[in-house]
Amino acid sequence: MNITQIQDLIKFVSKSGVSEVEIEQKDFKITIKTHEPVKKGQEIHQIAMPTMQMPAMQMPVAAPAPAPAAPAAPAAPKEEPKSNLIEVKSPMIGTFYRSAGPDKPAFVEVGTTIKNGDTLCIIEAMKLFNEIEADVSGKIVKVLVNDSTPVEYDQPLFLVEPN
């Protein structure tokens, strides 16, 4: 199961009104729990995936990463970003690219210092290639989306520690 499928699953569970879904395959297990009562559009979940491979995962968030939750662990609110971190959000629906082309370096990496106007990524929407510029200055702490994956409007793309 890839990240997109997991995201779709989370959305599905969120909309379905059920409180818990557990899927187990031979080397993979995922548990999605929602809070009761589920509010429309709410997307707060605890995901337990102890044996899940996470390719292209970036460096840990500035805050300590939560320990992998055991399947029976009680649902807890998703860890909020540290209050001083700023989320850079997608201004549109499209496909997220970290570089200008398949053989080009990424615009930013974790640790890159950025300033207002620097290009952070490209979001392609219907053959329109949109370079998304920073409107903050600071340091990239986390890249929240994998290269070449779909993004929704307002979806957080990067965590930035402002100057």
């Binding site: 053989d103 207002n116 053959k127 329109l128 370079e131």
Partner: protein
């Protein structure tokens, strides 16, 4: 004239007019509506690295630089629509037969591609701050590797002057861009739909790897292709979700 101070920059050869435009934008942003044109480009591009097939001096290659900060995410696709409409109208004037728009913005005549568009935009604060509109129009080229490509010359048996064509294109583009800046979205959408290739014709599509029978019923506000399927489903498809099989 909409672009009062725009420049026209003629180059013999460049890597690509879009790259030249990007370089200008980074270093000394030129006036709104500035056009860069080249006799030949050695790194002409389609979308994300696909090569654009063009022989030196035979085609119209140009990039417009505009600052459409009146566009937000919800109406960005209108920029694609007006560029495609300007090219479509230009080709129809030259060829004197029906020229259509293959979603999202290829220019099609007699089921063959005659031109294409590559737009690269920069976003800040939820607005489109600048856009580089790269246009490739097959003008006098006679040989193509692809059987699905043609040129104005092949369609008319005449040789065309690239500079004259550029001026005609600039005039068309400026007129459509002015409609966009004036917010004439309904008219733009109607014109785009009126010229949409294969509108309302049952055909096969590859939709997420599944071959389906469907027909195009239009394009959503955000540019997605609307399909009505043989099994009754209605779909709204992004570029990577669907491929026309024709």
């Amino acid at each position: 004239m909409l672009f009062k101070n725009r420049a026209i920059i003629n180059l013999d050869v460049t890597d690509s007019t879009n790259q030249y435009a990007a370089h200008l934008l980074r270093n000394a942003p030129p006036p709104d509506g500035t056009v860069i044109t080249a006799q030949s480009q050695h790194q002409g591009r389609g979308q994300r690295g696909t090569a654009w097939e063009s022989q030196p001096g035979e085609n119209l290659l140009c990039s417009f630089i505009v600052y459409p900060n009146f566009l937000g995410a919800a109406n960005q696709f209108y920029l694609s629509k007006v560029v495609a409409l300007a090219l479509q109208e230009l080709c129809e004037d030259f060829i004197e037969r029906e020229v259509l728009l293959k979603w999202p913005n290829d220019i099609i005549v007699a089921n063959k591609k005659i031109g294409g568009v590559l737009i690269e935009a920069a976003w800040n604060d939820q607005r489109m701050q600048s856009a580089i509109i790269g246009i490739g129009l097959n003008l006098n080229q006679l040989q193509f590797e692809s059987p699905r490509a043609t040129s104005i010359r092949l369609m008319t048996n005449k040789i065309w002057d690239a500079q004259d064509c550029l001026i005609a294109l600039i005039n068309k583009f400026e007129r459509y861009y002015f409609k966009l800046a004036a917010g004439q979205f309904t008219e733009i959408s109607k014109l785009y739909r009126d010229h949409l290739y294969r509108l309302g014709q049952p055909m096969k599509f590859d939709y997420h790897g599944e071959i389906i029978d469907a027909m195009i019923t239009g394009v959503d506000e955000d540019g997605k292709l609307r399909l009505h399927c043989g099994d009754g489903r209605s779909l709204s498809c992004g570029l990577k979700e669907v491929k026309m099989l024709y």
